[in-house]
Every structure is written in structure tokens, then in C-alpha cells.
Amino acid sequence: MAPPLHHDDIFELVREPIDPRPLIQHVRAPEDGAIVTFDGFVRNQSHNRATLYLDYEAYESMALAKMREIGAQLHEKYGIHRVAIVHRLGRLEIGETSVFIAVSAPHRAAAFDACRFAIDTLKRTVPIWKKEYFEDGAVWADGELPPAPVATRGAKPAS
């Protein structure tokens, strides 16, 4: 269903610490001039409560499909060279990277716009959920409801 990938991008869900260096190295090429990266990591507090750690879960097959869709959009909209998007799952301690994005492009405007579009869109559309653990309990983080089709085109009322 997804279009064939024409680009040598990286989309991964991992359970180990994320090392940004090979990701940056992968997107970096002599025809580029700019790389913008985004490193999202676990803050020590949330809504003024001290966080102990986080736990991330994903609908993995769909999350990867959505990450690949974001990548395809970056190429279409911004003419980037390459992108790497890696999200970590499982238990993460304070300061650990949950998501890392690297975008290379011939010019900086495209790299900035694309990197920002990538993280903004990931946070709205990629099925990943974060549970926050505090001294006195745990809560699922407030999230964003992905935009979903309101009604199937030409659907008849259900019988």
C-alpha cells in the first residue's frame, strides 16, 4: 500500500539507547550543505511533578508506516536529501533520548522546515504512547488525537 521507497532513509523503532552519530553520518553527503537535527529527551518534570521515568509503547507496524509517510512528505514538500527518524520504546530514564530526527538538504531552510514538520507530524499522527511515572503513581500523557477520516467516501449507512 505504501509507495516504494526511492530514498535511502532510516525509520526505526528501537528498545536500546539511540546513538545519533550513525544517523547523522547516514544522511550527510557532499552535495548537502546543511543538517538539522532534533533530539527529544526525557525531562525531569512534567506539569511541575518530578518524573521518575517514562514508558513508551507503540502500535509498531502502523507507527513505522506513519514514519515512512512522514519521510515521503519531507522529500515531496521540502526537497531534502535524506532523513533519519528513530523513536525509542520501553522504559526511558531522565535525560535519555526518546526520538531523534536528522535531515540533510542542500540549503538550511529546507532542512529546518523539514525537521520541524517531521517532529510536529510525528507527535500528531504516529501511534506511540507515553506513560509517565511519578512518586505517587503513573499516568498516560495527554496526547493529540490524530486527524482521521470523518466518513468513508460514498459509504452507505451501516445496516
Binding site: 502500535y59 510525528l122 504516529v126 501511534p127 504512547w129 506513560k131 488525537l145 490524530p146 468513508t152 445496516s159
Partner: protein
Amino acid sequence: MPSVAQTVRVKVLFFGRLKDVVGQAAESLDLADASTIEQLFARYSARIPELAKYRSSVVASRNQEFASWDTRLHSGDEVAFLPPVSGG
């Protein structure tokens, strides 16, 4: 042929707080062919009344694509109910 309600098998997934409410992450379920996602959710809400109050803050997917609630389900479909996402 007369319209006979055929039974098909679909896979149903719950994530995040919905998984906690339903008490399980995944199950395979038999339902009438061409049932809608809305009907499937209603069937769970009938069993677990608590679930109904999440209806407005849930989106559904069919086969890893966001889907409208009137989407009809067929044999082998994978349906997931997704609370607001909070990755990143």
C-alpha cells in the same frame, strides 16, 4: 442469493489507556461481515461500559491506516482503537 449475515474473523487491538480499560491488548473476534468499526466499538462498550466515555477521544485504524467509524470490516482485517498519541 439471499442476504445472509456471514461471520468473519477480525483482529482487534487496544493501546494506551484503552488497553488498561479493556484489560487486554489484542484479541481475535468473530463478527458479521461488513460490520462497521462503530459497531465493533459498541460491542466492546456493551461489555465494558467504562469504555463508552472514551468514544469521542479515540480514533480507529483498519490495516494500519486511520479509518472512519463507518468503515466496514471484512475477514482478516486488523482494527485498532487509538487514544490520543503522545510520542516524541
